[in-house]
């Protein structure tokens, strides 16, 4: 069955939801084995592009494996609100390039929510097999002041 734009939107919402629920295995199951994840930002201080995180599937698995031991407060949550702004044919056959705006809100264990980051997802999604899979995600941050930072991918 052909994958339509509505299916792609639905898929990316489910990806965001899996991350929000910290369902890491579910998230990984939505990624192709060659998945690459990056966080990038532009520095106006340096007048340069920056890369703040790069992981392949092994890197992400390790990150999720270490996560329970990373220091932090139990009950801290992140919620990603996305809205897809563009879906177009990708470079490779069966791939689509999808741009979404993303707002990540962090909520403390006390229930105080604050804007953590704003930016865009630049995704490549494989739609050839009928079930969409993530090939690549670049989280392009407008926000560069992340307070104490985060161990969890945005």
């Amino acid at each position: 069955m052909a994958v339509g734009n509505e299916d792609i939107r639905d898929f990316l919402n489910r990806v965001a939801d899996a991350l929000d629920r910290e369902a890491w295995d579910e998230f990984l199951s939505m990624c192709a084995p060659e998945f690459e994840y990056r966080v990038t930002a532009y520095s106006y201080e340096l007048d340069k592009e920056m890369v703040w995180l790069i992981h392949d599937m092994d890197g992400l698995r390790y990150l999720f494996d270490v996560l329970p031991e990373q220091l932090g407060r139990k009950g801290t949550r992140m919620l990603r609100q996305i809205s897809v702004t563009d879906i177009s044919r990708g470079e490779a056959k069966g791939h689509v390039d999808v741009t979404s705006k993303v707002i990540a809100v962090r909520t403390s264990p006390e229930g105080v929510s604050e804007l953590f980051a704003a930016g865009r997802y630049l995704d490549v999604v494989d739609v050839a097999g009928g079930t969409p899979r993530m090939i690549k995600r670049e989280t392009r941050l407008d926000t560069r002041e992340l307070g104490i930072g985060s161990h969890v991918p945005i």
Partner: protein, 399 residues
Amino acid sequence: MPSRNRETWERPPDLPETHYVDAAAYANPDIFADEMSRILARSWRFGCHESELPDAFDFRTIDHAEVPLVMIRGEDGRIRTFYNVCPHRGAKLFNDLSGNARLKTCFFHHWTFDWKGDCVSRPRPKAYDDMNLRAEDCGLREVHTDTLYGLVFFNLDDRPIPFADYFGDALASFERTLTEEPVEVFHYHQAVVQANWKQWVESNMDHYHEWMHVMLRRTNVLTEETLFKRRVELYPYGHIMFRGMQIDYQDEATVVPREQSKALPGLTAETFHSTPIFPNTVLMTRGTVMRIDTTTPLTPDTSLVEFRGLGLKNDSEEDRIVRIRQHNEFWGPMSHNLPEDLFAAEQCAKGYRTGGAAYGIICREENMSAQDDGGMRHFYAEWSKWMGRPASDPRTKAA
């Protein structure tokens, strides 16, 4: 061991006064105001790395010192620092974070300045001439600036401690790394931390906290050998050098491997060096990458920390990405270690800010090996000198 009541909690520890810090040093607003005038306004402070101003007329603003500053590379190649303030009616002169400007015209009434800070034009100057306000009296306010191994420092004091005396040999171990090949800053981010500035500076002087980091628990940092081979060296003016730590990055399959050929000059891929420079800057190397932290006090319990990552300017694109990954895994805003260190600083601040904590204990003596608190004692001895009162009893009226 018995728990304590108010009296025994607040009683000074039975230690030499050099071996503990009173809570007021972190939280008291009067002491904070004195720190700003006695320490921050008089010490040499890191501004940027010269690679951030590669060409003549390049500028870089520094927005979070007590006054807005701008660093400019002149036509003569020298970097100068000025108050980033128009002498006419106080507008901020450079409003972009970086850029290039042969002359700078203030957006407001178009007074114009050159790279030496001279006022070179004022529209319709006759009305000023009539009042005898000469252009020579309308220059920018310059701040002392000097450079060591490409690190650019400024000093807000008109009669600062001589630059060479202030640093002495404290940075000598970084000379080859910073000068043998051109280096450049590839990473910059800043964080407003809900902690006193010293709580962040301490996180780089306190190597006793290493167990806190999951990645250090999982690697070889804490073997007997690495613990006791590492040394804390003390330099005049409160500077410190941690030396002798070798990190085995092969320990974990998922840690980005570090090739010897990619080590920065003067280092092996395993070398960890760390040098806290009094009062608020730390240089660190992890073999293939270097980090510089600068902490600027904003209020007694908020601080702005700037983080820079440095590599070789002539890196191939491929090598740069490897270096970036090596930087990011421990030091990036989404790394394993940095958010843990920032978390720790904020949680300590909570203890002191509320009046809950009474003293910080810095009394470990272990022959100046890695987890000896000698580095922190050295910092607080210097702090006490500049403040004219001991950190163990900082409410004492300053000398």
